[in-house]
Symmetry: C2
DNA sequence: GACGTAAAGCTGTACAGTACAGATAAATCA
DNA sequence: TGATTTATCTGTACTGTACAGCTTTACGTC
């Protein structure tokens, strides 16, 4: 494969993966007991970083703060997080995951890992490991690139 | 990395890639001269398969036909495709890409390949090739899985 | 050939996810 | 203290998508 071919293939395959994953996410996600993608990502941030401000979540996910505001409001309604003013800065809304929220996150992770286990049934451990490694690196580089270029 | 760890990492990284790519797609995509993601995918199908029915496009992209109907109507307005009744089956709307549409597709592919070239700047040819290969295989398996399971 | 059934596509509608602009409240600085 | 900045929330709009129902065309059976 020529260098340029790899780039084109990666680009095309990422676009198609987006399309297909979107499909899979919608189709019966709730029936499988999963939480929404948006809540899933927010809870992932909270599970990793602990209580976080709305802006902090927005930055971690590269989302507009107004979007996160609405997501955490919905998640509070669903009992997945609690919101409280920061004691040392009244402007800040600190978002904390509830036990229920963390349990829902873990449940979703397990369901999805099982799903991927089915999809990647015939894959060697080496290919799985390579894909995990390369995707992680790709995301890190996409994130770095986006921040350096102001997402232009 | 344990087998289960790979699955969890892949799952989490795909979710994050979706998030980040969505961001990059919106931010300044038009400014870079790119066409919309939906048009890009439809034109990709037409470029590969030639004139295709609305249902055919929907199947290739795993979209609802009503969604494709609207996309091709918008693309016709934009001069990227032309629609015509199939001579042998009056129910079928055959969608053909215009020269302009194919040129826009190629332009977008080039812009995006260049973008990926920047993001993957420090990557070895081997890693790029591996990522291209593994993503292609992942998509094929996701697609197969989805069709086998009725996207449940 | 007529009638019932199926297929293709279109229209109405609804919803998730998102951004941008502007409003509000709290903090900080000169 | 007043001006400016920061964090969040509210109003609004748009893309992408699905599902249900409608219309038109085709097909199969008699």
């Amino acid at each position: 494969m020529q260098p340029d071919d790899s780039l084109r293939t990666i680009e095309a395959q990422v676009a198609m993966l987006l399309r297909l994953s979107d499909r899979t996410r919608r189709a019966g996600a709730r029936a499988r007991g999963e939480i929404e993608r948006s809540a899933y990502l927010v809870l992932g941030v909270l599970a990793q970083d602990g209580p976080t401000s709305v802006n902090g979540i927005a930055d971690a996910l590269r989302l507009d703060p107004s979007t996160v505001t609405r997501q955490v409001l919905a998640m509070e309604q669903a009992g997945q997080v609690v919101r409280a003013a920061d004691a040392s800065d009244g402007r800040v809304t600190l978002v904390r995951p509830t036990e229920e929220g963390l349990a829902a996150l873990e449940r979703t992770r397990e369901v999805r890992a099982r799903l991927y286990g089915e999809v990647l049934d015939g894959w060697s451990a080496e290919d799985r490991g390579d894909l995990a490694r390369l995707l992680t690196r790709l995301n890190a580089d996409v994130d770095t690139w986006g921040r350096a270029h102001g997402d232009r």
